[in-house]
C-alpha cells in the first residue's frame, strides 16, 4: 500500500530545465519579463506532483483523522501517518512518534519554549542563542525568560558572519538549560557547525534545539548524526504547503514535557475532575490538523528525495558561487555574509541605494528578491546595515537567472548613478 521511497536521480540525470517543467508558476511573466524567482528562503514553489497530491487527497480521500471507523477517515488517517513516516525517514528520526506535526518552524519552537520551558526552566537559568537567529528563535525564548526570570546569552559572530565558537564554549555552564541555534542562517546563508556545537553542549548535559528551516531544503539532515534534542522546520520552504511544519524531538524529552495546546486528539480520557493525556506524538497535536498539508509535505519530501538532496546541495552551491563571484567583482556591491561554508543565500548591499529601491527596480526586471531585515534585526545591527537585498536559491534556479539578477543590479546602479 505504501509507496516506496523514490530513489534519487544521479547527478548526471539532474537537469534543471526538465525539473522546471514541474513548476508551473515559474512560467509567470512579471512586467512582460520571465519571472526570476530568487526568494526561496522566504518560501519555495510547489511542483506538480505535490499539487496533484493535494488535489487527489481533497477529491478522493478527505475526512477527519484518528476518529472515524468509516472508509474515508481510515484512508485519511493512513495517508497522514504515512506522511509522518516519510518525514521520519527523510530526517532519519529513530521513531515516528518523535515526529510532531506543527503549523511551521515558529510553532515548533514555541512548542519547545512553552512545554520544555514550563518543566525545566527556572529563575536564574540561562538560554544560549546566537546573533544569527531568526526572530522566531529569539522571541519565544525571551517570552519564556521574562516569565521565569531566566537569562538569554548570545553567541557573537565574526565579520564573515560565522559564530565565534570560543565565545560559545565560554557561555556553556551548568546554569544553561537550553541552546537554540539555526543550522543555516536565513539572512546570511552561513552553515553553522551544529553537530560540533551539540556535542559541546551535551558535555554539560544541555539540550539543543536546531532551527532547520533553511537547512532541510538545501542539505542532507540526519537528526541522529547531529544528535540534536529538537529539530524544527517548515513545509513551505521545502516545496510543500504552508501551514505545516515539523518538530522532531527525542522521545526521552517529549515524554517528560507537558502538552502545549489542549483539545481533542491530545487526550486519553477527559472528565471534569481529571484529564489524562495521549502518548506522543498525539499529546502535542491538539485539534484537527491541516491534513492535506501534512500529506502534501509527505509528497514534497518524496519529490525532494527523488531529485536527490545531494544533487540539490551541489547545484545550489554552484549557483551561489557563480552569483557571489560576480557580486564580488562588481564595484559598489558588498556581500554581507562571507562565511567559508554557506548555503543558497547571497545577501548584498548596493552602495548608495537602499535595498527597498533595489528590490523594486529588480522587480521591474522580473527578479524577485527579498529586501529588508529578514526577521533577523540583530544580524543587521551586527553588520551596520538597516536592511539587505537577498537572493536565495532553489534547485530549480539556473545560471541564466543569476545573469538576469546581475544585469538587474547593474541597471539599478545606472538609474541611481
Amino acid at each position: 500500500m505504501n509507496a516506496p521511497t523514490p530513489l534519487a536521480m544521479s547527478r548526471a540525470a539532474f537537469d534543471v530545465d526538465t525539473l522546471r517543467r514541474d513548476f508551473p508558476i515559474l512560467r509567470t511573466q512579471v512586467h512582460g519579463k520571465p519571472l526570476v524567482f530568487l526568494d526561496n528562503a522566504a518560501s519555495s514553489q510547489m511542483p506538480l506532483p505535490v499539487i496533484d497530491r493535494l488535489v487527489r487527497y481533497q477529491t478522493t480521500e478527505h475526512a477527519n483523522i484518528h476518529r472515524g471507523v468509516h472508509y474515508l477517515s481510515e484512508t485519511a488517517t493512513r495517508e497522514y501517518e504515512e506522511a509522518r513516516r516519510k518525514i521520519q525517514r527523510f530526517i532519519n528520526a529513530p521513531e515516528e512518534r518523535e515526529v510532531i506535526f506543527t503549523s511551521g518552524t515558529t510553532e515548533s519552537i514555541n512548542l519547545v519554549a512553552h512545554s520544555y520551558g514550563k518543566a525545566f526552566i527556572r529563575a536564574g537559568d540561562e538560554i544560549v542563542l546566537t546573533t544569527l537567529e531568526h526572530h522566531s528563535n529569539i522571541v519565544p525564548w525571551q517570552m519564556l525568560a521574562e516569565e521565569k526570570g531566566a537569562k538569554i546569552k548570545v553567541v557573537p559572530v565574526n565579520d564573515r558572519g560565522e559564530l565565534i565558537l570560543e565565545e560559545y564554549e565560554k557561555l556553556l555552564s551548568p546554569r544553561v538549560k537550553m541552546v537554540g541555534v539555526m543550522q543555516v542562517s536565513n539572512a546570511l546563508g552561513t552553515i553553522n557547525p551544529v553537530k560540533h556545537m551539540i556535542a559541546l553542549a551535551h558535555r554539560h548535559g544541555i539540550p539543543v534545539l536546531v532551527d532547520g528551516a533553511q537547512a532541510v531544503p538545501h542539505l542532507p539532515v540526519d537528526v541522529q548524526d547531529l544528535d540534536c534534542d529538537f529539530y524544527a522546520f517548515s513545509g513551505h520552504k521545502l516545496c510543500g504547503p504552508t501551514g505545516i511544519g515539523i518538530l522532531y524531538g527525542k522521545a526521552s524529552w517529549l515524554e517528560k514535557m507537558p502538552p502545549f495546546k489542549g483539545g481533542g486528539d491530545m487526550i486519553r480520557t477527559v472528565t471534569f475532575e481529571k484529564t489524562t493525556y495521549a502518548e506522543i506524538p498525539n499529546k502535542f497535536e491538539a485539534g484537527t490538523p491541516p491534513i492535506a498539508a501534512g500529506i502534501g509535505l509527505g509528497a514534497a519530501v518524496d519529490y525532494i528525495t527523488g531529485v536527490g538532496i545531494a544533487n540539490i546541495e551541489a547545484h545550489e552551491l554552484d549557483l551561489l558561487n557563480y552569483a557571489q563571484d560576480q557580486l564580488n567583482a562588481m564595484p559598489g556591491v558588498r556581500l554581507i555574509g562571507t562565511a567559508e561554508k554557506k548555503a543558497a543565500v547571497a545577501s548584498f548591499w548596493v552602495e548608495g541605494v537602499h535595498p527597498h529601491d533595489v528590490g523594486t527596480l529588480l522587480n521591474e526586471e522580473g527578479v524577485a528578491v527579498r529586501t529588508g531585515h529578514h526577521c533577523a534585526q540583530p544580524v543587521m545591527e551586527r553588520f551596520k546595515v538597516p536592511a539587505t537585498s537577498r537572493a536565495s536559491f532553489a534547485f530549480y534556479n539556473t545560471f541564466a537567472e543569476v545573469d538576469v539578477l546581475i544585469a538587474g543590479i547593474r541597471k539599478v546602479q545606472k538609474v541611481f548613478g
Partner: protein, 162 residues
C-alpha cells in the same frame, strides 16, 4: 502600472540632492519618523510662527522614495499656513493609498503627483507617506511617527516572513 513610472527623474534628483536637508537651528517643532519594517528613519524639524511654517528641514536614512518624498514635502509646505500643510498631508496620504484620483480637480498636490505610482506597490506606500506622517506629528507636537502606529491609514499588510 509599471513601476518604472515611480523612479522618475524628479524623484531621483530629489534623492540625490535633497532640498532642505539638515535641521532648523531655531526649530520649535520636531518629530522622528520610523518604519521598523525597512529601517527608514527621518527627522523633521520646523519653525512655526503665526500659524505658518516659517522654516522646515529634514534628515535621516531612508530609501529613495522616502527621501524624495521628504525633500519635495519640505519644498511644498515651506512658507505655507499650517492648515494648508495639514491639508496636503491628507491629500498626499489619500493619493498614495489610492483614495484620491490625481486626475480629478480640487487637490493641491501639484508636482507631488509623481508619487501616485506607489499605490500600485503596497509595500512602498509607507516609504512615501512616512515624511508626511512625521510632519503631521511635528506640527501636532507628538514627537514621533511610526508606520506601525495604530490607526495608521497607510498601514498595509506587509510580507514579513523570513
Amino acid at each position: 502600472m509599471s513601476t518604472s513610472s515611480l523612479y522618475q527623474e524628479v524623484i531621483l534628483d530629489h534623492n540625490k540632492k535633497p532640498r532642505n536637508w539638515g535641521q532648523v537651528a531655531d526649530a520649535n517643532r520636531r518629530a522622528d519618523g520610523h518604519n521598523p519594517l525597512c529601517g527608514d528613519r527621518i527627522q523633521v524639524s520646523l519653525k512655526v510662527a503665526d500659524d505658518k511654517i516659517a522654516a522646515i528641514a529634514f534628515e535621516g536614512e531612508s530609501c529613495a522614495i522616502c527621501k524624495a518624498s521628504a525633500s519635495m514635502m519640505t519644498a511644498a509646505v515651506k512658507g505655507k499656513p499650517v492648515a494648508d500643510a495639514e491639508q496636503l498631508v491628507n491629500e498626499f496620504r489619500d493619493m498614495a493609498t489610492g483614495k484620491l484620483d490625481t486626475a480629478a480637480p480640487g487637490h493641491h498636490l501639484g508636482r507631488l503627483t509623481v508619487f501616485a505610482g506607489v499605490r500600485a506597490l503596497p509595500t512602498r506606500v509607507k516609504c512615501a507617506v512616512l515624511p508626511w506622517h512625521t510632519l503631521h506629528a511635528a506640527v501636532n507636537q507628538r514627537g514621533a511617527a511610526s508606520t506601525e502606529a495604530e490607526g495608521d491609514p497607510a498601514h498595509a499588510p506587509m510580507g514579513n516572513a523570513s
